[in-house]
């Protein structure tokens, strides 16, 4: 999933302070799962903003809505009625959802309320960790299902850097060394010889380095 974090309340409040009526638009998919922008977070943010403005003697009308996915037109069109009533929308979606709404409703000011952080997993309750950089050419089969691009701070393909200590990364000691995990997995499964195989330099043109990417599925085009 895409993992994000809600922006600090103070930052969101500063963004909306010039408006008398806003819509806080949540997204019911990835950012809901990581507690950044689902229905609950929309309601909590709206309440916190109302209370905060009330203490300053101001009233701001806040509409609340959460759609299934802000990155799909099919879902965000459900927000058209509410959006038509406001000058600004605080989107609690990831960067893709924010831009989709901005593109669909150019008449309103779109204010991002979430910082999109990474593609990751729910490792355990309350902990999300990064696993994938979206390079466009998955090769985790060569590394025992552990990606040295998304999980190694130095994105090394040909073995550990030598800086790790006790299985932890020297860049961030809270993070497992990806190459320690790769070697441990290979040893445990009797595939150490596989790591001796030559891996050619990666073609980064499939990554974001090649500019914005597209996936075109003609079989789904109508």
């Amino acid at each position: 999933m895409i993992v994000g974090e809600q922006k600090p309340l103070e930052e969101i409040k500063a963004k909306v302070s010039g408006y008398s009526r806003i819509l806080i638009l949540g997204c019911g998919t990835c950012v809901k799962t990581c507690f950044a922008g689902g229905e609950d977070e929309v309601a909590t943010l709206a309440s916190a903003l109302r209370l905060s403005f009330k203490l300053e003697g101001r009233t701001i009308q806040i509409e609340e809505q959460t759609v299934e996915r802000q990155c799909e037109d099919e879902f965000i069109k459900e927000a058209a009625t509410n959006i038509a009533e406001v000058k600004a929308v605080v989107s609690l979606a990831c960067g893709a959802g924010v831009q989709m709404v901005a593109s669909r409703f150019p008449q309103v000011t779109l204010l991002p309320g979430v910082n999109t952080t990474f593609i990751g997993i729910l490792e355990k309750a309350g902990l999300f960790t990064e696993k994938c950089l979206g390079c466009g050419n998955c090769i985790v089969d060569l590394f025992g299902g552990i990606c040295p691009i998304g999980r190694c701070a130095k994105r090394l393909f040909h073995g550990p850097c030598g800086g790790s200590s006790k299985g932890k990364c020297e860049v961030n000691p809270d993070t497992d060394c990806a190459w320690q995990l790769i070697v441990d997995h290979a040893a445990a499964t009797g595939q150490l010889d596989k790591l001796a195989e030559y891996v050619p330099p990666k073609d980064w043109r499939t990554s974001q380095a090649g500019g914005p990417r597209k996936v075109h599925r003609e079989d789904h085009e109508i």
Binding site: E10, T44, L51, S52
Partner: protein, 145 residues
Amino acid sequence: MVMEKVHRMSNKGGAAHTRKPRITVFHCFTALEDTASLEGGDYEIQGIKMPCSSISREVFLLRAFEAGADAVVVLVCPVNSCRYVQGNIRTEKRVTRVKKILDEIGIGGHRLNMFNIVQGDEAAARRIIEQTVAELGEWGLSAAA
């Protein structure tokens, strides 16, 4: 007497308050059957009865302040005594988070507190309310109420 003190504190900022302090009590019905025994003359109690305290989502606690609470009390079962195993632990984490939000807003996280009470200990619940009313004497009424 407590009410007079609350009003004196609240009047520091300007407009006079003539109402009683309001306390919203979120409680699971295992910890406390209802809030009837907590009602008194010097304050208003709004009881929110739940099958488990963990149902008290962040927004419910905030909306209690929007609805006019000067203080919010959450009564939960003792640690390791929750019928749903972790309900009181989840509640504590939510209360901690909402206290931070209240601090950030300026209402003050001290107006929201969670207490563990043994099932049916109405005397303990009453002492908690009396303590909260006394503290409201120091804090004054909420400017957001």
